[in-house]
């Protein structure tokens, strides 16, 4: 059967060049980078090259600002727990948004148990946070603000540079973190232009190895680690560095940034075609997120009168991989917290489908997908007790099975 991968926001295949490096450093050129002998030092050198590649990719000032870790989730935990705990004598207020990834949102909520006050900002119906809203909720207790650069579920691109500028103008130090896990390699990401103190990335979203992440920590920012052990990563992240994978991450990042403009052009064009075709062919479908302030290659729809997981599985049976909600939340009966935060009614949110394009997708795959989706939606609506009934989404009776799920 034909196989089409349209779920690049969930994960990407590792670039061949990067994968070869991983292989090389797992087997022939193995070694512990903390070892002082030749085996170890060769790995150390390659690892430090990767650090330089990260510095170059995000415009950091020096290699001392980069700490590698095991992924985006750990990087976000490090950034938020580490900055909050290290600065708790200065204040206890943290600001984030309702559409953050769980690795940010749950971490902030956990900090509430440690005595922090957490303000979770709403977003507009595009999924965007408002700069003035951020400014308005800042108090003299505010120590940390964490707002994602681009949203994984609806692709909304947040006004990070504007928020960073606003914070700079305040003339007092509030640590600003952005989760750039979805944006890096697709949008320009520069820590000075964005005016952030903490920035996090993940390998497996940019054709690098899973199990790799990096945290940028602006020099001079108070911060403390979340794990304890050896002195690796300048005492910021203990444990034998995952050198093979990190070296692969460096390579993947370098490739991603070097080819970004051409890549973006290609997948934006394909995405726009896909969106046009879906919206024109299939009735009762809405595009989620902002029409222009969105990630290239990213499309999220709500298809009325049907349920997203089933739609996703029917597509899968035809070899097409998309996601319903995000990979991390699928499997839970609740619809995406992002769509709900955007004000999309539950019954519509249940019918969401996310299509995220990547390097190897073709126009022909888009056509195949639109064909398949059209047929599936038709079939599902025939099966649906709601479609065509007088139950307009958004105006339904309240739920008889309530919230006990």
């Amino acid at each position: 059967m034909r196989k089409i991968y349209f779920d690049h926001a969930a994960t990407t295949p590792v670039d061949a060049g990067a994968a070869e490096l991983v292989m090389q450093y797992m087997t022939g050129d193995f070694g512990n980078p903390s070892s002082m002998h030749g085996f170890g030092q060769a790995v150390r050198n390659a690892l430090e090259e990767a650090r330089k590649q990260v510095v170059a990719a995000i415009g950091a000032a020096s290699v001392g600002e980069i700490a590698f870790c095991s992924g985006g989730t750990e990087a976000n935990n490090m950034a938020i727990l580490g900055a909050a705990r290290a600065n708790k004598q200065k204040g206890n207020h943290i600001i984030t948004t309702a559409v953050e990834h769980h690795s940010v949102l749950s971490t902030c909520k956990y900090l509430a148990k440690e005595g922090f006050e957490v303000t979770i900002l709403p977003v507009d119906h595009y999924g965007l946070v408002n700069v003035e809203d951020v400014a308005r909720v800042i108090t003299n207790q505010t120590i940390l603000i964490s707002i994602m650069h681009a949203n994984n579920e609806v692709g909304a691109v947040m006004p990070i540079a504007e928020i960073g500028q606003m914070l700079k103008n305040l003339n007092r130090k509030i640590i600003f973190h952005t989760d750039a896990i979805q944006s890096i390699g697709k949008l320009p990401v520069n820590v000075d232009q964005l005016n952030v103190d903490l920035l996090t990335i993940s390998g497996h979203k940019i054709y690098g190895p899973t199990g790799t992440g990096a945290m940028y920590l602006r020099r001079g920012t108070w911060w403390q680690p979340i794990m304890y052990g050896g002195g690796q990563e300048r005492r910021r992240r203990p444990g034998t560095e995952n050198a093979p994978a990190i070296i692969g991450l460096g390579k993947a990042l370098e490739i991603a940034v070097a080819n970004r403009v051409a890549y973006v052009k290609r997948i934006t064009k394909l995405r726009d075609e896909l969106v046009d075709k879906v919206l024109s062919r299939i009735p009762h479908v809405r595009l989620n997120g902002h029409p222009t302030k969105r990630l290239p290659g990213h499309a999220s729809f709500c298809v009325e009168y049907i349920e997203g997981e089933a739609m996703m599985l029917y597509l899968d049976m035809q070899g097409i991989a998309v996601s319903s909600g995000s990979a991390c939340t699928s499997g839970t009966p609740e619809p995406s917290h992002v769509l709900l935060a955007m004000g999309i009614p539950k019954e519509l949110a249940y019918g969401s489908v996310r299509v995220t394009l990547g390097k190897y997708n073709t126009r022909e795959e888009i056509d195949y997908f639109v064909e398949a989706l059209t047929e599936i939606v038709e079939r599902m609506r025939l099966m649906s007790p709601v479609a065509g009934s007088n139950c307009t989404p958004g105006a339904c009776v309240s739920c008889s099975r309530a919230e006990n799920k």
Binding site: Y305, I306, E307, E309, A310, L313, Y314, M317, G331, T332, P333, P335, P345, K346, E347, Y350, L382, M383, S384, P385, V386, A387, C391, P393, C396, V397, S398, C399, S400, R401, A402, K405
Partner: protein, 121 residues
Amino acid sequence: MYSEKVMDHFSKPRNVGAIDNADAVGEVGSPSCGDTMKLFLKIKDDRIEDIKFQTLGCGAAIASSSMLTEMAKGKTLDEAIKITNTEVAEALDGLPPKKLHCSNLAADALREAIEAYQASR
């Protein structure tokens, strides 16, 4: 994550559709909670002669509906009303734990339909 049986019923659901002039109809859920299910029964001599379903829901919900219709068809009302959601799940070789409670409602719809039918007589 789904058993082969579930995938079989999901991909080729049995008895999909509505029955015009159904003798009994049962409905559970509501669109704002995810899964909604509607059952249509043709009843003759207290026996389910025909049964069809419409479901808005995930794979588990669709497969449960389909399986339920197969289990119920031909049964007397007294037999059919005893079918439980657990039996439907078992007939499907099990459902993922998360799906057991929210998507496995077909037996409830059937009971509702039968009770309404019996009450109306």
